[in-house]
């Protein structure tokens, strides 16, 4: 180490030049990735941070005086190299090059999160973890927030000792520790060469010798919680330890060996590739950052278990089959849940237990049974629930593993595959939708009457939302005059049947959607056939009264809610006609107006974006109906005036004398709607 350090200092002396003092340039001595410390200038400017090779012949005094610290700590490898910061790559140490030549070059150069000491010109000393992210400041402690699968997740650790120099503030600057019941906490052993300490302008850091001479690591070594539990469940030598034991290199390697993922192997190799510049130099080591004494995981678990109630699998089954079954909560990870769960369980991963349990189990007096894979996470979760005020909580000892071993029934969840989870992630985040709701949408069927102004935005949004089956009834072809507002069609679709053009657009948007097309006018003759395919919701975007009344009557007889929308010039109306739960179109308008008093858009015109507003509102209502959430516009007519930028709402009431949905209906089969509408235009769409 000494040699390295000295070499580094000499090189700095020869080449360093502080040319950018005025721009807040700092000297940085970086000790990660290799033992040959690099010298550079770090700009604190956001996005342009990075080390620049020092040139020139002016010495960097600080570097001469201060030792390098090599902190043997790794946080998490990231996925891809960030080459842009490695401006000093040309001066890689030989050792590193050799290792690459030895076959390491195929592995993605995972970034080692190194700890570096930053020597500012003002002699402020800071230790930071360099995650190789562009950062406004170097002196920060940050970890990658989204580790690769299998890697430990990190969370802020308020209880970890603060490093003397960290500025706390946002998360990235706080001490971190592995998420959940990991064994070890982030700990740093700071190695400072002994010489020249007296010349430091700052007070010396607290010095305490670490017990273990080996390089310390972040001890979160295994990627699976199951592994954690299994390991921790092993009878372990040694009783209470006053100080938390950190995973030694050997332990870590052994743990990595047990890991199923390949990432750990890679990590290990890279570890090996690091020169140990400071190893074996114990006499000069000073540990500046230390842990407070903590209980081990097993001690913690023992303690928790003594405080909670546990039941065996047999007893759990009895309870669940009893007259008042407790709420069963599965606190395992998503991937574990996906492989099977106890029937009737709800899934609340332990990581989000506190935030989500209230919604899942609002009644704190209802008995709750918690389980995980072997009964350890559930024990901790049980304690947490008790702290949250749940009065009757028990953990299933032995967990799901024991349950299965007893041959008790399990269930495989109907769940979204990863690509759908990604596509619908914004839905999954909404509690009212979530995975269950998204699955419901994927299983829902919505029929659009008309693929015109209203049908265009409605079809696109419903398709994007993942409505599993979308039916479109429209007899027309795409006309140039449509393109001002009918956004599901494009210029190249001119002359093409609207149903085909719309199908193409929907399929391009979301291949999850099955499109059923009906290139026909909706009539008394074909409507039963089309509705018989089983639609959950009809979105009515017709442009004429006969079709409106036909759809209304048929929807009542088929019991399908209709999301009604209509537009004219700058104004639109939206409402939901839910058979027998609210008024129908005939309750609202028992008769259509004479044609001369009801001009269509083709005659009176329409602002192009107006159907965008109204059709989107229809899509919103249709999704609510399909999901069974919210307050649909049943019995309410929403009026939108684009010119005034104003929404108004009026109440609609079911007419008990309505000829179709009233208490004593007089119309019980289809009529001649064209005649009924007194010669109104009978097109489904224009």
């Amino acid at each position: 180490m000494e040699a390295h350090r000295r070499r580094a200092g000499e090189r700095a002396y020869e080449r360093a030049q502080l040319r950018e003092r005025a721009r807040g340039v700092r000297l940085v001595e970086e000790a990660h990735r290799c033992g040959d410390a690099r010298l550079g200038i770090s700009r604190s400017k956001r996005g342009r941070g990075g080390e620049l090779a020092l040139r020139g012949d002016r010495p960097a005094d600080a570097l001469k005086r201060y030792a390098v610290e090599e902190l043997g700590m790794r946080v998490a490898p990231s996925r891809a190299p960030r080459e842009e910061r490695k401006l000093t790559r040309g001066r890689e140490p030989r050792q590193l090059r050799r290792d690459r030549e030895a076959g390491h070059e195929d592995r993605p150069p995972a970034e080692v999160t190194g700890v570096q000491q930053i020597l500012r010109l003002d002699r402020g000393r800071r230790v930071g973890i360099d995650t190789a992210d562009p950062a406004p400041l170097r002196e920060r402690l940050a970890v990658l927030p989204r580790p690769e699968k299998g890697e430990p997740e990190m969370e802020p650790d308020e209880s970890a000792p603060r490093m003397l120099l960290l500025q706390t503030g946002e998360l990235g600057k706080r001490p971190v520790r592995p998420l959940r019941e990991r064994r070890a906490h982030l700990s740093l052993e700071r190695v400072v060469a002994g010489e020249d300490r007296s010349r430091l302008a700052l007070p010396s850091p607290p010095v305490e010798r670490r017990g273990a001479p080996e390089r310390l690591h972040l001890g979160a070594v295994a990627n699976a919680e199951v592994e954690d539990e299994r390991r921790a469940a092993r009878p372990d030598a040694g009783g209470l330890r006053p100080r938390r034991r950190l995973a030694s290199r050997e332990e870590q390697r052994a743990a990595d060996g047990r890991d199923r993922g390949s990432g750990s192997e890679r990590r290990d190799h890279q570890e090996d590739a690091r020169p140990r510049a400071h190893a074996g130099d114990d006499s000069r080591k000073h540990a500046a950052i230390l842990l407070k004494p903590m209980a081990s995981y097993r001690e913690l678990l023992q303690q928790v278990r003594s405080e909670i109630e546990e039941v065996g699998a047999l007893r759990a089954r009895e309870l669940l089959e009893g007259p008042q079954p407790p709420l069963l909560v599965d606190v395992r990870r998503r991937d574990e849940w996906d492989e099977g769960f106890i029937p009737g369980a709800i899934h609340v991963p332990r990581g989000s237990l506190e935030s989500r349990i209230e919604r899942a189990a609002p009644d704190r007096d209802r008995p709750v049974l918690v389980y995980c894979s072997v009964g350890e996470r559930s024990a901790l979760a049980t304690k947490t629930l008790g702290e949250l005020g749940y009065s009757d909580v028990a953990s299933i000892a032995g967990g799901f593993t024991d349950w299965k071993r007893n041959g008790f029934p399990t269930e495989i969840p109907n769940s979204l595959d990863p690509s759908r989870r990604a596509r619908y992630s914004r839905h999954l985040l909404i509690p009212e939708v979530g995975e269950e709701g998204q699955l419901q949408l994927l299983a829902s069927r919505i029929l659009l009457v008309g693929a015109g102004g209203l049908g265009s935005p409605a079809s696109l949004y419903l398709a994007a939302a993942g409505v599993g089956r979308i039916g479109i009834v429209d007899a027309d072809v795409v006309d140039a005059s449509n393109l001002q507002r009918q956004i599901v069609h494009s210029t190249e679709a001119l002359g093409e049947p609207k149903v085909d053009s719309a199908r193409r657009a929907i399929e391009a948007l979301n291949p999850d959607v099955e499109v059923a097309t009906y290139r026909e006018r909706l009539t008394s003759e074909n409507i039963d056939r089309i509705l018989a395919e089983g639609w959950d919701v009809i979105v009515d975007g017709a442009d004429n009264f006969p079709t409106r009344y036909l759809v209304n009557d048929a929807s009542i007889w088929h019991g399908i809610p209709v999301v009604h929308g209509s537009i004219y010039r700058f104004e639109g109306q939206v409402t939901v006609f839910k058979p027998h739960e609210g008024p129908c179109y005939r309750c609202l308008f028992p008769q259509p107006p004479p044609p001369e008093l009801a001009p269509s858009c083709a005659e009176g015109g329409v602002l192009g974006v107006l159907p965008g507003v109204i059709g989107s509102l229809q899509a919103s209502e249709a999704l609510k109906l399909a999901l069974g959430i919210g307050d649909p516009l049943v019995g309410r007519l929403l009026l939108f005036d684009a010119l005034a930028a104003e929404f108004n709402e009026v109440s609609l009431r079911r007419d008990p004398d309505c000829p179709v949905c009233g208490d004593h209906p007089t119309i019980t089969e289809y009529v001649d709607y064209v005649e009924f509408c007194n010669g109104a235009p009978a097109r489904v769409s224009s």
């Binding site: 537009i567 010039r569 700058f570 028992p590 259509p592 008093l597 159907p611 009026v650 109440s651």
Partner: protein
């Protein structure tokens, strides 16, 4: 005086106004005032001295048919919405 919202299909009859002030203690009096000034509206709102079946009148958001019809009282400063059926969807 109350504000009467005129739907777009009826605006040509009132010189293009979106909203007209009208006086009257009931819907009937209000409409009489309105139709007196804009006789062109009569055909589009009234059939045989009653509201035409294709027109709805809302006083403060409530359909007058569910209240007292044309005799529904209109308080000073109320908003009255005239709403004829609209079929346009494309």
């Amino acid at each position: 005086m109350s504000r009467v919202r005129i739907p777009p299909t009826l605006r040509p009859e009132v010189g293009g106004e979106r909203q007209i002030e009208a006086a009257g203690g009931t819907v009937r009096e209000l409409l009489d005032d309105l139709l007196g000034r804009f006789p062109g509206l009569r055909e589009q709102l009234v059939e045989e001295d009653e509201l035409a079946p294709f027109v709805n009148v809302y006083v403060e958001g409530e359909d007058v048919r569910t209240l007292d019809g044309l005799e529904t009282p209109v308080r000073e400063g109320s908003t009255v919405i005239l709403l004829p059926a609209m079929a346009g969807g494309t």
